[in-house]
């Protein structure tokens, strides 16, 4: 009985607080979805990404929200499982009536959510580099397309005089497709492919792969391993005497947090290609990094997908303001006409194909766990969802 009374009192209290809250926001609230893996194997990467998205929402609310409305994030856990992502996306749109969703990491999670967003004609902001080969009006692809990460990395390696390439990846859609594109370009540019190997996601034994590498004697390894496998790979390479200074490795899935977790000493000297590094100069980046550290601790580090998640929220707000509406169709039409904005990544904008125009950088890992930027593309690169060499005749046109 006592519990019941307490429950009633709590409900009353909550009601009052809620009422008080809405009173402060004359035009009410608007709900957006934040859908990342908060549990399971991807939680390592996706929890910080969720943090960055929530930071952006906090900052917008502190400045008066959007169109006078307070933004209320509805956070759901995709649990590192594509079908859960699809189910939670449906829940967010149907039950919570969110106007848009920020989320996803693996291509499998994006592919699972795509039909949901198409069915309800809602809008997903996807923040992670991916393999391209996809074009939907219901997704804003802010992460790098292959021509903004993988191909610039290859161009850089070629300019350094590396001729023999060894491709190593986890066995799923991103590494397979990225390597398919890289192989076309390696052959097209007259370079040599000295080997190609795939290891199951989470694989821990690299003895045979390293033997293959020792036999193939490549000039550089292009590494699309994901997650923990990288730790095993670099440890076993070091044990075999193949440290990054003896055999360069260019990785596409190692950023600041991974470097911190794996121990920078193990990886020091290895290369990676991204559209953002924490060490980038610029006032926007400095402000972002210090705001993130203020909220989540001075020891925290930020990386490319986190900044994309943060910037997605900011650009969504700009697009809503320009459209004067939360309607997903109007928002995406407005988003591609915003033009360049200053962001922690530098100048970025969404192109007509709903992917982000952004600069590519090559970083070299320093012993302190930060990347030294050693190369950047001459300017922001226009995203190409379909690589013309690999998928000739296919193009991505989204009517606006």
């Amino acid at each position: 009985m006592a519990m019941k009374k307490f429950g009633f009192a709590a409900a009353l209290l909550a009601g009052t607080i809620l009422a008080g809250h809405t009173a402060a926001w004359a035009d009410g609230t608007v709900k957006v979805g934040v859908l990342q893996s908060l549990s399971g194997t991807m939680a390592i990467s996706e929890v910080p990404l969720e943090d960055a998205e929530l930071l952006a929402i906090d900052q917008l609310n502190a400045k008066g929200g959007v169109l006078g409305k307070k933004i209320v994030p509805i956070v759901e856990d995709g649990a590192s499982d594509p079908s859960t992502f699809a189910q939670k996306a449906t829940k967010l749109i149907e039950e919570d009536k969110v106007v848009t969703v920020f989320g996803g990491w693996t291509s499998a999670s994006r592919k699972a959510m795509l039909p949901v967003f198409q069915k309800f004609d809602n809008l997903l902001w996807y923040p992670v580099q991916f393999e391209g080969n996809e074009c939907s009006p219901n997704i804003m692809y802010s992460g790098a397309q292959p021509n903004q990460q993988a191909l610039p990395a290859l161009a850089w390696a070629e300019s350094k005089g590396y001729k023999k390439y060894f491709l190593l990846g986890s066995d799923y859609v991103y590494p397979r497709t990225a390597n398919l594109i890289l192989k076309k370009h390696i052959a097209h540019d007259g370079m040599t492919l000295s080997g190609e190997e795939y290891v199951p996601l989470g694989g821990t034994d690299f003895s045979s792969v390293i033997a293959e590498i020792q036999q193939a004697k490549p000039d550089i390894i292009i590494n699309t391993l994901n997650g923990d496998s990288n730790v095993s790979f670099f440890k076993q390479m070091a044990a075999a005497g193949l440290t990054p200074d003896k055999l360069p490795v260019m990785s596409f899935s190692i950023a600041e947090p991974e470097a911190k977790a794996m121990g920078p000493s193990l990886l020091a000297g290895s290369y990676t290609s991204w559209n953002y590094f924490q060490s980038l100069p610029g006032a926007a980046n400095a402000a972002f990094v210090s705001a993130y550290k203020a909220k989540y601790g001075a020891g925290s580090v930020v990386d490319d997908p986190m900044v994309h998640g943060y910037e997605d929220v900011m650009i969504w707000a700009d697009a809503v303001k320009k459209a004067g509406s939360f309607n997903p169709t109007k928002v995406r039409d407005a988003a591609v006409t915003l033009g360049f904005v200053e962001s922690p990544l530098g100048k970025v904008k969404f192109a007509d194909n709903q992917s982000m125009v952004q600069t590519a950088y090559i970083g070299k890992l320093q012993p302190d766990g930060q990347f030294k930027i050693i190369w950047s593309s001459p300017g922001p690169i226009t995203p190409q969802p379909y690589d013309p060499l690999t998928f000739p005749g296919k193009s991505c046109t989204i009517p606006h």
Partner: protein
């Protein structure tokens, strides 16, 4: 590198992989052989060993920290194993399916505990510098073959552990009791063997070995809350292939699995090799369901 060096290098890699499987699977084989218990939390004993190695290295930095970590991890994991045996497994010993579920629960609890204590990202254990070298063959028909020190170290540890266990089981009075309980629990108990104590000791021994395996794995891979999960499936695989409960069988099965994957990986991808390995094990079990070595015991006949 010439072909023969490459081939022999792969044979070495096969044994190296096998030695990891042996260390990871021995504990499972021991506890299943004696108690018919499938311990789903076995992988987390490896994980615990990895974290204990990390903590030992904080206290004993120097080059020999890793040697200090081995006994620490053994004792720590054995202690946790003893607690697990006393609180969960012993109480469910008559209900094997419930043990499966309960130990799986324990495994989830331990993973979350590691996540809360050390963070989801994992910790770093680096091989000491004296293990940084490789033994290289520079001339002759094996020119170009490189044997990393870490892998040689792991082979040695596996051989030592295996030797010590064999001696314990075959040469000591305790080993005699273990074998007696294994063959016929009721009769052994009637002859005055404290079967209950033997259960506890063997289970703790098994988890202790897994803890040591965790230290070894930390030299080659990550130490994360879920690291145990990546080794538990191959560990079950070699236990089943070897013949449930047989240490000799587990050893032979580990070597077969290690060599099979290493040699087949000359021709195919690592992920394809895994598929072929599973196909091989399924076919083998079809032809010989009892595994490589048949254990004669009343418990399995019943």
């Amino acid at each position: 590198m010439n072909e023969s060096a490459f081939l022999l290098g792969q044979v070495f890699n096969g044994f190296s992989v096998a030695s990891l499987f042996i260390l990871a699977a021995l504990g499972l084989a021991l506890s299943f052989g004696l108690m018919r218990v499938i311990n789903m939390a076995h992988g987390e004993m490896l994980m615990l060993g990895g974290y204990l190695a990390y903590m030992t290295l904080q206290v004993v930095p120097g080059p020999f920290g890793i040697l200090a970590a081995l006994p620490v991890a053994f004792l720590g994991a054995a202690l946790l194993g003893a607690v697990l045996e006393l609180t969960v497994i012993h109480r469910l010993s008559a209900r094997p399916l419930d043990t499966l579920l309960a130990t799986w629960g324990v495994s989830l609890v331990l993973q979350q505990a590691a996540r809360n204590l050390f963070g989801a990202i994992g910790v770093e254990v680096t091989a000491p510098t004296w293990m940084d070298h490789t033994v290289s063959v520079n001339s002759g028909f094996l020119a170009g073959m490189d044997l990393p020190d870490t892998r040689i170290f792991i082979l040695l540890i596996a051989a030592l552990v295996l030797g010590a266990l064999a001696a314990l089981l075959n040469k000591t009075r305790l080993g005699l009791y273990v074998r007696a309980v294994n063959q016929d629990r009721a009769t052994a108990a009637a002859m005055g063997v404290n079967a209950r104590l033997i259960d506890l000791l063997v289970f703790s021994l098994g988890t202790g070995v897994a803890g040591m395996a965790g230290v070894i794995l930390a030299l080659l891979g990550p130490v994360t809350p879920t690291v145990g999960q990546s080794y538990i499936v191959p560990a079950f695989l070699v236990v089943i292939l070897g013949g449930l409960g047989s240490l000799v069988g587990t050893t032979i099965a580990s070597i077969i699995v290690g060599l099979f994957t290493a040699l087949i990986e000359i021709f195919v991808d690592v992920s394809v090799a895994q598929v072929l390995l599973l196909v091989f094990v399924i076919l083998f079990i079809q032809i010989r369901p009892q595994g490589i070595i048949t254990v004669r015991t009343r418990a399995l006949e019943g």
